[in-house]
Symmetry: C2
């Protein structure tokens, strides 16, 4: 610390960078940057362990701004701390196209931004995932390499969202003692006072979930700092309830509802400068204040950084390489061989694709220590735990997390685990429950995080559990998410190939859609990964030029093959295309696509789901055999007949489209 | 009560109906029906006010089986209580296609089934919505007509889901004193003991949220009954924590993990019959037990029912008609005139469609006392509160609910409000937050509930808040939900027309998609509702036969019109089709559809969203101008240029598809 600069002035440096930028943009949220300036100053200049010159230092403390609308707080902090990427110019261009200072923070670890935040509740859930990753990696690599804390700044909005309680409950259960939430308790939401919508004793709620709770005056840097010290001395995760005044320092809006996202004008700035005795020009940080920030947020941690580097350098080469590989998210040698062996072993076996995926995870877990699996209370039906030891408060070396009945938490925590680096999370649940985790799935796609989610129970094929549990619109709704790779394998070989695709997909999430029911074996082992091209001719037309193409995915590929048999017998040369992935097929060159699904022959698709989007592949005149609404409760075979998803229906859809001249 | 039949035998009647049905189906969840048999007996035979002979009696107590996998508990209860629709034959056919005894309960108030449940957490949130509806209607119609309780049976899964905390917190805040959750505290989930995933003090959590908490032995009918009496004497909602043994009465599985959803065999039934001394054949309820049930669950309430009927009969005719109309969910006379007047007043005005919707809600609220609005902490941006008084613990006559930052709760509570009957809920939020409430949106569609959700901030048109808040895949993902009516109006007139469509849609939910930014006026007032046909020719081709059709929705209709101007000037007769609703257009006859979007002319669509599904309307060779990925942070006009959603891009997409012979 530079004693000549008061903490109050250091906090005011945040305030005025934020106010200048928000006024200039004509848009933004002043409430949080102003209300949390002292909290952030306490954390960044006295506690947070980081190195602005090496933003991605693996052992840095993680800080997540969960109330992401307060983005200028983060940009101001990063600039003041010395992160080069957040220059004064970048801050001047806050919310302009091309500036790294986006409206809400966007994941950019090289700039010091640990997660994209804004949709409330996501950031704290990411932070819980990061804390899990830290605990797991510390157990594996030891405290010299991995020993850091995870902090999240959180507003009332984050805490009211349901996902918050899921992760609060789970973090307490897991005793994530290095996790700290700093609650901006300003008693104001966008609608007005929090008394409009909540009467809850938030402190008691956290205590019920086995957290330590500490109160602090959020505008007293010393008090917050003391609370942060206390947080270190308790084995439980800690909530620091910081009583604050929203928009503090902006006379017109301070403590008011309008401070949350209200417009800031030049007159406001003038009043604020007078009120806080801050007579520096816009976007200007006085030298002494900047020096104090650079000292507090940068130099303070030099020894810790150097000591970590020395520890890493002293590692045996193979351990160092293993650690670097994990941090760089490089896959280990031989992972593909593991899958190829599995493929060849399972070729010819009729199996549920969820069981194939479970086998893949089991084998990959042997070859890849970074695999970290879990399921929300569906260990049995997804079979994805098998022999993996559980990650618990007592066993940090575990490889499988019992998420409880908390899909949303799983999705958002997996994002945090990937963003932390070092582990590859795999989550397994039922396809219908993907709706519960849709916000984090979208965030994974936006952040380009390679999260793998495996879904079982993918259609009416589940039978008697009925329409609540039978997905019909989920393939369409997952395919709709930009940058989401959706895979639906047709048999055991394809399922293993899809796992290879999932791990190869390093710049976005993968949804692997599996059946509960057994799928017949359709492919032989060996050879190239045919699924990787998205679609391929599984059975070619025989006895003449192709007159029809039946395109299918997953369990309906067998239906397509049966229909082909009927049509071939009728003298109609018919090809069957298996199409495990629209996105991968879209990425192929047009010639390949045209060779697989040419436009001349009749085109019919079959998928036990709605048609939406299929016209892209079969044209508006193509036939579609699938679902038009929700499913029903009954035995699976009966349901396929009831909804008309049968070889005969497919054959008929083809026949109806053959030109009249075609004899049969 | 019939004193000769013990409560234990009455509970065993539930057990054996459930076991016989589950064994026969070869599938089902025995754990909850067996574990909750005494809880249900206490509630149904001593406390629940209902009339099996008139299942939809408006003033009945509501009972929601939130742990819907235990569906046989509900079917057994309804059969024993005397609901005709759930016959022994229906129970014998549990989980067979066509039986009302579906795998999970499916909304059927005429059978006594108040909500479709299964996806965990939804049922309790429905129940909270029902309790809100009761309180609101009691304030309006008085306690002689509306004065009932709402009960939900809830398992650990429901309580772990995030939506649970949202509604627990809100129910406590609203002091819904007639709401009771009966918690099946069996300490077992599908994965095993609850200690695998939770260490929370659930009782303290509810107390923190301002609930009364009572403990009871869940296998002691007297204890549960006493707790239910205590629940009535407290102004807070009540949690009765019922300690139970899962699968109680099934020796092999009792208290075990496998009891939750494990298979039941003939041998199990034999052992259970011996253990419980129940020597009656399968699907047979002894006469004395059945008589006791019919007395306890039916005759017990005869006086209450008759007294309610007398009160209703004594009402002035207009009050009675108003009450009946509301309960029957009939719209009032003149509601359309209100909208037509608004349409004609706003025609010619450039406005954000969210503001038009806000105006519509304000005017409709005057004409329709049943309108009950709310927004999750977005009163300001959605403008949907206006002069409506808030519904609070103190003011039960309020018309607007501050849901807090709890979208999931809003969605699921609205389902409960509709299922209760008497109110029409309207929820307003941002389109990206629809992902947070996707599970209840799906349930509304499945239950065919006419819930209206209004979404603002519908595209990159929101500008600087960036990609987290810019929907690109949401039109596709909402259109994917079967039975969901999706509306995206292009100007003020269309927005009012869409409101008319939303209220006309009585058998499914409506998503009304609105812009934050002002939309230019495109239509005149008066005349028929053109939006109602889904799509229509807004500007016809001039100067010759139509050579191009540009189809657009919402804010992009203006872009299409500008492109048309360019093309017309180039001598290309071009029509613009406004398409506020795919679903409504799909429902038109083929001739109309072909007249609006004929296949001959070039077809180009423009929508600031992804293409998925558009090929259905423009063919695979049609042009599409829209988004291919996520948005960005910057001024809105710049973003439209940046992503190429401009009149020039649309015109170019048309030109590129005109046949070479076409001169221009």
């Amino acid at each position: 610390m530079t004693p000549s600069v008061s903490p109050g002035r250091m906090a005011d440096a945040i305030r005025f960078l934020a106010l200048d930028a928000i006024e200039r943009a004509g848009d933004g949220h002043p409430g949080a940057p102003l209300g949390c300036a002292e909290i952030a100053t306490a954390l960044f200049t006295r506690h947070l362990v980081c190195n602005p010159a090496d933003p991605e230092w693996p052992n840095r403390d993680r800080f997540v701004l969960s109330n992401g609308h307060g983005s200028m707080l983060l940009y101001a902090l990063l600039h003041l701390s010395g992160y080069d990427g957040i220059s004064i110019e970048a801050i001047r261009n806050f919310r302009e196209l091309g500036s790294p200072c986006h409206g809400h923070p966007e994941y950019a670890p090289h700039l010091g931004i640990e997660a994209t935040t804004g949709p409330l509740g996501q950031g704290i859930a990411n932070a819980v995932g990061m804390a899990v990753a830290e605990a797991r990696l510390a157990a594996e690599f030891g405290p010299d390499l991995v020993d850091h804390r995870t902090y999240a700044l959180v507003g009332d909005g984050c805490l009211q969202e349901g996902v918050a309680h899921e992760v609060i409950s789970l973090a307490g259960h897991l005793r994530l003692g290095k996790l700290v939430f700093l609650w901006d308790d300003n008693r104001i939401t966008d609608d007005g006072g929090t008394e409009l919508s909540i009467s809850e004793d938030v402190r008691a709620r956290f205590q019920a979930a086995q957290w330590q709770v500490i109160d602090a005056d959020g505008h007293d840097v010393e008090a917050v700092s003391a609370a942060l010290l206390l947080a270190r001395q308790d084995p439980r995760p800690t909530l620091i309830a910081c009583r604050t005044v929203i928009g503090r320092g902006l006379p017109r809006l301070e403590g008011q509802r309008g401070a949350h996202g209200g417009r800031v004008f030049a007159q406001d700035l003038a009043e604020a400068r007078t009120a806080r005795d801050w007579d520096h020009p816009a976007f200007t940080v006085p030298d002494d204040v900047l020096a104090a920030w650079r000292e507090g947020a940068g130099a303070r941690n030099r020894a810790a950084y150097e000591s970590w580097r020395a520890a890493r350098a002293a590692l045996p080469p193979e351990t160092r390489e293993a650690f670097d590989r994990r941090h760089d998210a490089r896959l280990p040698e031989g992972w593909q061989a593991t899958l190829h062996a599995l493929r060849d072993r399972l070729a010819g076996t009729a199996m549920a694709s969820i069981e194939v995926s479970a086998e893949a995870v089991a084998r990959l877990s042997e070859a890849m220590p970074e695999l970290f699996s879990g399921a929300p209370d569906l260990e049995g039906p997804t079979k994805h735990k098998q022999a993996l030891p559980a990650f618990t408060a007592e066993n940090r070396g575990g490889r499988y997390l019992h998420y409880g009945i908390r899909e949303h938490a799983m999705g958002a925590m997996m994002n945090g685990i990937v963003a932390h680096r070092g582990l590859i999370p795999v989550g397994a649940t039922y396809l219908v429950f993907s709706d519960y985790m849709r916000p984090p799935l979208r965030m994974a796609a936006l952040m380009e995080l390679p999260v793998v989610t495996v879904y079982s129970h993918d259609s009416i094929g589940i039978g008697r559990n009925g329409p609540t549990h039978q997905p019909v619109e989920f393939l369409a709704s997952l395919r709709a998410i930009p940058n989401m790779l959706v895979l639906r394998p047709a048999d055991a070989v394809e399922a293993v190939e899809c796992w290879e695709m999932a791990l190869t997909n390093r710049h976005g999430p993968t949804s692997l859609i599996c059946s509960r029911q057994a799928l017949p074996a359709l492919r032989e082992g060996g050879g190239a990964n045919r699924s990787a091209r998205g679609a391929y001719v599984l059975a070619d037309a025989q006895g003449g030029e192709r007159r029809a193409t039946i395109v299918a995915t997953g369990s309906e590929v067998a239906v397509a093959l049966a229909a082909r048999k009927v049509l071939q017998a009728e003298g109609v040369p018919t090809a069957v295309v298996s199409m495990p992935s629209w996105e991968a097929f879209e990425a192929q060159d047009p010639e390949y696509r045209a060779s697989v699904i040419p436009r001349g022959p009749v085109r019919v698709a079959v998928e036990a789901a709605i048609r939406q989007g299929w016209d892209r592949w079969i044209g508006e005149d193509g036939g579609f055999v699938g679902m038009t609404g929700f499913g029903a409760s009954g035995p699976a075979e009966e349901l396929f007949r009831h909804f008309g998803i049968t070889p005969e229906a497919v054959a008929q859809a083809v026949r109806a489209r053959l030109s009249p001249s075609a004899g049969h």
